[in-house]
């Protein structure tokens, strides 16, 4: 549904986006993450036809973003990180205006506007002037505008910024609902835990280049790839009641164990091999007289993947 090849954008001699090659299928929800200035917004703007790439090409739904701008704009919705609204219009008239700009007829426009006002909690403000809305309400209105014409692909640049925790949760539910409808969503955010809830793909951008890209879960998923060690095993966490330093010495002597790190009585280490090897380690530790409080494989979350990918630490 979204494809770009060697997408590059310069600002003078500064490379904001450098040869980005990516492909996102229909119905995928892709998190675009990276530090500030990594090129996420520039990428979105290029894909949304708002900025011409210096080099490379991109297609949305098979339509070239440079050659068929109007065609691409029919397919996409976009919520920029910072945006301005028509302050003089009421909330309802604002949405009506854009509904007509997207060629929706009057009855369908009314239906959609009412629907999105309700879904995004703007119903009480439908007659309020946009200029009087709070930051969060404006953000909701921006989201409503982006989805109003039922686009196939939606780009959301920091959609949760300015929202309170409850509104964030509502937005998350709204995006999950859109995911169920089969829309392709590309969302950039710094709140990685929330992204992990509903994203099925991740693209990590660092210095304008793609540091990591792929499905989030599954055997070939990014999480699985980052949970593994260099030897093909996993990283484990072991907590004992006392004698942490002595355990550290013991673990370092055991075969297949490497990268032992100790924080008081909690130790983490890489272990080559499968669950049988883990059971062997546990037996030896217990046999040496240690009182084991907890022993489990370490969980890999989006944040640790992001950290490792940003540093180029993935071992394979």
């Amino acid at each position: 549904m979204i494809r770009c090849e060697n997408l590059t954008r310069y600002f003078g001699s500064f490379v904001a986006v450098d040869r980005l090659t990516i492909e996102i299928g229909r119905g995928a929800v892709c998190a675009l993450v990276g530090p500030n200035g990594a090129g996420k917004s520039t990428t979105m703007k290029m894909l949304c036809t708002l900025m011409a790439p210096t080099r490379g090409r991109a297609w949305i739904g098979g339509r070239d973003v440079q050659q068929d701008k109007v065609g691409v704009r029919q397919l996409i919705g976009y919520l920029p990180e910072s945006f301005q609204l028509y302050e003089d219009l009421s909330v309802e008239r604002y949405l009506q205006f854009f509904a007509r700009a997207y060629n929706l007829d009057a009855s369908m426009a009314n239906e959609r506007v009412t629907d999105y006002l309700e879904r995004l909690g703007l119903n009480e403000k439908r007659d309020a002037r946009v200029g009087t809305l709070s930051r969060g309400m404006r953000q909701r209105l921006g989201v409503a505008k982006s989805f109003l014409h039922d686009p196939e692909v939606v780009f959301l640049d920091e959609p949760a910024s300015g929202l309170d925790p409850v509104a964030r949760a509502e937005l998350r539910d709204f995006l999950k609902f859109q995911q169920h409808l089969g829309k392709t969503v590309v969302v950039s955010s710094h709140v990685l835990k929330e992204l992990a809830d509903f994203c099925d793909h991740i693209a990590i951008v660092q210095n304008g280049r793609l540091a990591e890209f792929g499905p989030l879960s599954g055997a070939e998923g990014v999480l699985a790839r980052y949970s593994g060690t260099a030897q093909g095993g996993r990283r484990y966490s072991l907590r004992v009641v006392k004698d942490g330093p002595r355990l550290e010495i013991l673990l370092k002597e055991l075969p297949g164990v490497s990268n032992v790190e100790r924080r008081d009585v909690t130790l983490t280490f890489d272990l080559a091999g499968d669950e049988e090897a883990a059971a062997g380690v546990l037996t030896k530790v217990a046999g040496a007289g240690f009182l084991v409080a907890r022993f489990s494989p370490e969980e890999v979350d989006l944040e640790s993947v992001y950290r490792q990918a940003s540093k180029g630490e993935r071992s394979d």
Binding site: A52, N103, R314
Partner: protein
């Protein structure tokens, strides 16, 4: 380095759809389901004007505008009806008499009807041709300043649609009031005896003038974001002044009278009002190639062309500020229209008592040189050199990804502008050649008329390109461009002024010497002496340059001989008395060209160094040359 899975060939859509069939297959495979045909396809939407809906006033305001306009028109009509002629026994006459006395009012019904039309036409012109374009300009400019344009550009509308929507959608109420005024005025104009075809031309003229100014405003709005959008409004006010006022200066001249039609007031004057002027003014019907209707058609077509080009330029600039406003083909079209207009003026032969054909050629030359060089100047400013873009290209090239030698380095734009100037100079000189047999005397002069401006424009183009590459900020670019332009203009004008001064001095000396020798020989003077010829010659001799000339005029025969040789040959005369100019001025031009070309080269070299500083430290990280 983390692997980038995207570099692996994906199962589907792996090949870039460079070939048409591949693209078609891809589109077929990945094309979204066709959206339901929900559009209601109003004519406004066909024109790309969904903004109609945004600017729909609230019902109360809508009623207020309607009734306000209705009452105003009604009051105007009533006031005019009061001024109509009536029988002395009528009530209307009594009211008129009571309010304004016996002498007020129109003499006939026809005069009254025409008066109403004139009033309504001018009010409509002010509303739609001045106020509406200013509002539309502010609307578009303000949208860019506030940042709301981004959402508009995301709607499935072409950029031209957005520009048109902002031009008309935001001020449609004003145009509707104008329409209502004309709807009331036009029947009265025809009843009042105005020829229907003239009324039709007047309406077309008004529409085109309004379109032209609105489009010009839209273009200005895409150029500036200063002063919260008011900079564009100020620009349009200035431009409007030049569109409305200067053409009127041509209305009294038979050869170029059609230029006055470019102003709506000039068109009104030519169509309806000139009959009230003096006999001399009444004879000055604006014509092109001897035809009045051709003159109107030409002006309307030119305004239509300008409208299209302004909208196109505004769309291009709104789409990307890196683009030039117009393509070379558009500049050629504009220039061609200027040439056609000039030729039309040349063929305004002495139909309708025009003094002589020579005057027509002179007028044609004036039109071509003024308007043609203005077109060339605008094309010169609209150059494709953008520092950011060129720097990006240079970085790409250094990283081994871009073209080896960037096309942007070649002065193609300078060449195009120089060619356009050569055409202008060539055609203008041809007109000059036809103006008088005296103007055919010297080939050098004709060559100078063609090549000197071309040389100036070439140097200016190089200077503009170099300053655009060299300076990061607009102020630096503009300042240096202005200074260099002034210097180069001075350099171009210097030989012309020098030659002109020598020519004037020569004429004065020759005249004085001839008088002197006639006076000495007691011959009949060529002209009446006001001073003693001997004293005058002595006075002239005090100046070194005059003495130098007078030395070659030591007898009447020699004076007449030298006059015969150099009559109407200012360049030959100049070179005879200032032979070093043969060397000096070409050398100065050569030095200017070499200096500018070198500076341009240095600007590119500095840009390359900047690119190297950016690229080389990052080599292997951002710019791995081994990468495909």
């Amino acid at each position: 380095m983390p692997a980038t899975p995207s570099s692996d060939p994906p199962a589907r859509e792996s090949a870039p759809p460079s070939a048409g069939t591949a693209a078609a297959r891809l589109e077929e495979a990945d094309a979204p389901a066709a959206p339901p045909d929900t559009a209601d396809h109003t004519w406004l939407q066909h024109l790309g004007m969904p903004f109609y809906f945004r600017h729909t006033p609230r019902p109360a305001m809508r009623r207020g505008i309607f009734w306000g306009a209705f009452i105003s028109i009604a009051v105007l009509l009533v006031l005019n009806l009061i001024f109509m002629p009536y029988g002395r026994d009528s009530m209307a006459y009594a009211i008129r008499f009571a309010l304004f006395g016996n002498e007020s009012g129109y003499r006939t019904f026809d005069a009254g009807a025409r008066g109403i039309f004139n009033q309504f036409y001018i009010i409509a012109l002010v509303l739609s041709g001045i106020i509406a374009p200013l509002f539309a300009t502010f609307s578009l400019s303000n949208e860019r300043v506030l940042g709301t344009m981004e959402f508009l550009k995301l709607a499935p509308l072409s950029t031209t649609g957005i520009v048109l929507g902002k031009m008309f959608g935001s001020v449609y109420v004003i145009h509707m009031i104008s329409g209502a005024l004309l709807l009331a005025g036009v029947p009265l104009a025809i009843l009042g005896g105005y020829p229907p075809e003239n009324v039709a031309i007047a309406l077309a003229g008004m529409v085109m003038a309004c379109l032209l100014l609105t489009a010009a405003g839209a273009f200005l709005a895409t150029q500036t974001m200063a002063f919260r959008g008011f900079a564009a409004v100020a620009g349009l006010l200035a431009l409007g002044f030049f569109v409305h006022v200067p053409p009127l200066a041509a209305s009294g001249e038979k050869e170029v009278g059609f230029i006055s039609l470019f102003s709506p007031w000039g068109m009104l004057d030519a169509l309806f009002w000139h009959e009230f002027g003096s006999a001399w003014r009444r004879a000055n019907v604006p014509m092109l190639a001897g035809s009045t209707y051709l003159a109107y058609a030409y002006v309307l077509a030119y305004q239509a062309l300008f409208f299209v080009l302004f909208v196109w330029a505004a769309s291009r600039k709104l789409d990307s500020s890196e683009k030039t406003a117009l393509r070379p083909s558009a500049w050629i079209a504009l220039w061609s229209f200027v040439a056609v207009g000039a030729l039309g003026a040349a063929y305004n032969a002495d139909v309708n008592n025009i003094r002589s054909l020579d005057h027509c050629w002179a007028a044609a030359m004036a039109i071509l040189l003024v308007a043609g060089y203005v077109v060339c100047g605008l094309a010169l400013i609209d150059h494709p050199f953008r520092r950011e873009r060129t720097l990006s290209d240079e970085c790409e090239r250094l990283a081994g990804r871009g073209e080896r030698a960037s096309r942007r380095r070649f002065p193609l734009h300078a060449g195009f502008v120089t060619l356009l100037v050569l055409l202008t100079g060539g055609l203008g000189t041809a007109f000059f050649y036809e103006t008088s047999t005296a103007n055919r005397a010297e080939g050098w002069l004709l060559c100078a008329m063609i090549f000197l401006p071309a040389l100036l424009f070439l140097l200016l183009a190089l200077a503009l390109e170099a300053s655009a590459i060299r300076f990061r900020n607009f102020v630096g670019q503009a300042t240096l461009s202005a200074v260099l332009s002034a210097l180069l203009l001075g350099l171009t004008l210097a030989p012309a002024i020098h030659a002109g001064t020598i020519n004037a001095r020569f004429n004065r000396c020759a005249w004085a010497a001839e008088n002197y020798y006639r006076w000495v020989a007691n011959d009949k003077p060529k002209q009446q002496y006001y001073w003693n010829p001997s004293e005058q010659l002595e006075l002239l001799n005090r100046h070194l340059e005059n003495a130098e000339m007078l030395a070659e005029m030591d007898s009447l025969e020699k004076v007449q001989n030298i006059q015969r040789i150099y009559q109407n040959r200012p360049v030959a005369l100049f070179l005879h008395f200032r032979p070093w100019a043969y060397l000096l001025y070409p050398l100065l031009f050569l030095a200017a060209f070499a200096g500018l070309y070198y500076w341009r080269h240095c600007a590119f070299a500095l840009l390359r160094k900047e690119a190297e500083r950016a690229v080389l430290p990052a080599a292997g990280v951002l710019y791995n040359k081994s990468d495909p």
